[in-house]
């Protein structure tokens, strides 16, 4: 395995351009329709053509075999390797990691990465995270698993339903400034608390909405960049996938409370953060902007704490003080997060990356954070997975 200094010594890798479709319900289109549009948008943004791409890594969860191939077949067919990535909700940032590794190790100079999802319309979100008998028991309700974690969080740290509601309010406020978000309307704490209970203590407005969408980015070496202006480099990309004893997003007994009583290994999200700090050489104090994983209100707070931005249980207080607002000390989810944008599983991570990219290039319009130079995003995925990406100007 490479040492930290060997990893840092690899050639720099840049994001040359991005494409992100609006997140909404695409009734009359399939993933390869809006997905291929994201690819074309990224190529245009990077001032490149399809023939420049040497390898492709595309994420999706529910689209089936050859999903990346189908999207690319709407763009061009040049015999390059196409790999489909399924790491649940972290698919598109894991796809980015593969592209990053390929360019850093000089295997390729220009790669396409990204992801897309047209969410299933009815009933079954078939997840292999639960065995069949567990599904009959009613354990496989992801929202309810987060609720179990929220109950413990309230018990251990005194967090309240109002704290959780405040996450939704902040993100919906930011989402109102994002033309690509499925929800562009603010909500109040009262509206969140009055929305119907899904699984105690989680209300409907503590849950992110479903949406369809696609994302793509061109990842390349420095010499392939068409524009040397406002270069955005990938400082690090980390993936951790499951530590026994205590782990995040759903996988039977280990989810949100079912972890071991005796064995306390580091949580998978904390481990990813630890590796990200080690390899990048940065610390939490260096990050100007953070895309947290807010699939449900409490998970944004856990994302912030697991990365090390504050102590466990502290995030609700800092949120109340405005620390995570767009004009706060550490803006979180400036594009509205999953809460406003919606959650097409195969594209969510990529959306986080695009927001950081635009923020670092001062292209975020009304959402712009002044002087953002280093940005970070955290994508969790059932598995469990934790993918942490740091971008820098």
């Amino acid at each position: 395995m490479k040492t930290i200094s060997e990893l840092r010594g690899m050639r720099p890798v840049y994001i040359a351009g991005v494409g992100l479709t609006p997140f909404r319900r695409y009734k009359d289109e399939e993933w390869y329709d809006f997905g291929s549009r994201a690819i074309l948008e990224a190529l245009k943004n990077a001032e490149m053509v399809w023939g420049d791409i040497q390898a492709a890594f595309l994420g999706s969860v529910y689209q089936g075999t050859g999903s990346g191939h189908q999207a690319i077949s709407e763009v061009g067919l040049t015999g390059i390797p196409i790999i489909n990535v399924e790491n649940a909700c972290s698919s598109s940032t894991v796809a980015l990691r593969l592209a990053y590794q390929s360019v850093a190790t000089e295997l390729y100079d220009v790669c396409l990465a990204g992801g897309f999802e047209k969410m299933p319309r009815k009933g079954t979100f078939l997840s292999t995270a639960w065995r069949e008998w567990e599904r009959y028991m009613g354990f496989n309700v992801q929202l309810a698993n987060y609720a179990l974690g929220a109950q413990r969080y309230m018990e251990e740290y005194g967090a309240t339903e109002e704290d959780f509601a405040r996450v939704t309010v902040k993100n919906r406020k930011n989402g109102a400034l994002n033309p690509r978000a499925i929800f562009q309307k603010e909500v109040t704490i009262e509206e969140v608390l009055n929305s119907r209970m899904i699984a105690k203590p989680m209300h409907l407005l503590n849950c992110c909405p479903l949406a369809d969408g696609g994302v793509a980015y061109i990842v390349c070496s420095g010499d392939k960049l068409k524009s040397k202006n406002k270069k955005v480099a990938i400082a690090t990309s980390v993936l951790t996938s499951g530590t026994y004893g205590l782990s995040g997003t759903g996988a039977g007994n280990e989810a949100y409370g079912g972890g071991s009583v005796k064995i306390h290994n580091i949580d998978v999200a904390e481990l990813a953060a630890k590796q990200a700090w080690e390899v990048s050489g940065y610390g939490p104090e260096d990050i100007d902007i953070f895309e947290a994983y807010d699939t449900m209100s409490p998970s944004e707070l856990w994302s912030i704490e697991d990365m090390g931005f504050c102590k466990k249980g502290e995030a609700p207080h800092l949120l109340r003080e405005g620390m995570f607002d767009i004009d706060g000390k550490l803006p979180v989810n400036t594009d509205g997060g999953l809460m406003s944008c919606g959650h097409p599983l195969g594209a969510t991570g990529g959306r986080q990356v695009c927001e950081i990219y635009w923020q670092l290039r001062e292209e975020a319009g009304p959402r712009q954070v002044a002087g953002a130079k280093i940005g970070m995003c955290h994508t969790k995925g059932a598995g469990p997975n934790s993918c942490v990406t740091i971008l820098k100007r």
């Binding site: 009933g123 079954t124 979100f125 069949e132 008998w133 567990e134 599904r135 009959y136 028991m137 009613g138 354990f139 496989n140 309700v141 929202l143 309810a144 609720a147 179990l148 974690g149 109950q151 413990r152 018990e155 119907r196 209970m197 899904i198 699984a199 105690k200 203590p201 989680m202 026994y244 004893g245 039977g252 007994n253 949100y256 409370g257 079912g258 972890g259 071991s260 009583v261 005796k262 064995i263």
Partner: protein, 144 residues
Amino acid sequence: MNSDKKRIPLKEGLWTIPSSPHEEPQLIGSKCLSCGEIFFPNKVKGRCINCQGENLEDIKLSRRGKIYSFTVVMIQPPVYYRGPVPYAFGYVELPEGVRVETLFTGCDFEDLRIGMDAELVIEKLYADDENNEVMTYKFRPIKL
């Protein structure tokens, strides 16, 4: 009225079948003899996923524990679940050092609290298409 209605377990091997009327069912777990870790359900493949040891033995778990977390689900889960809605589930921590994911029963869900004592019961989960009672384990808060 069909009196041949059977009781069938949701899954074999999750709990013991009492051999006498005085015996109560117990959940069947695994204990790793190398690292001491306890698992539920038991590890039929005989492998400890903590230490990678292959020295496990089945153990009967305590019938009582404390509620570690719970939630009350107000929505119908997609496809599989055929029990009542709303329903409550969560984790019970047993004294030997294992948390069991479980349904909760025999109480007003409004009364559920973290830290409550609860005991194992074997109860109907739902009636299947042949009107058999599909049985499962649940935990019932102990009223003092």
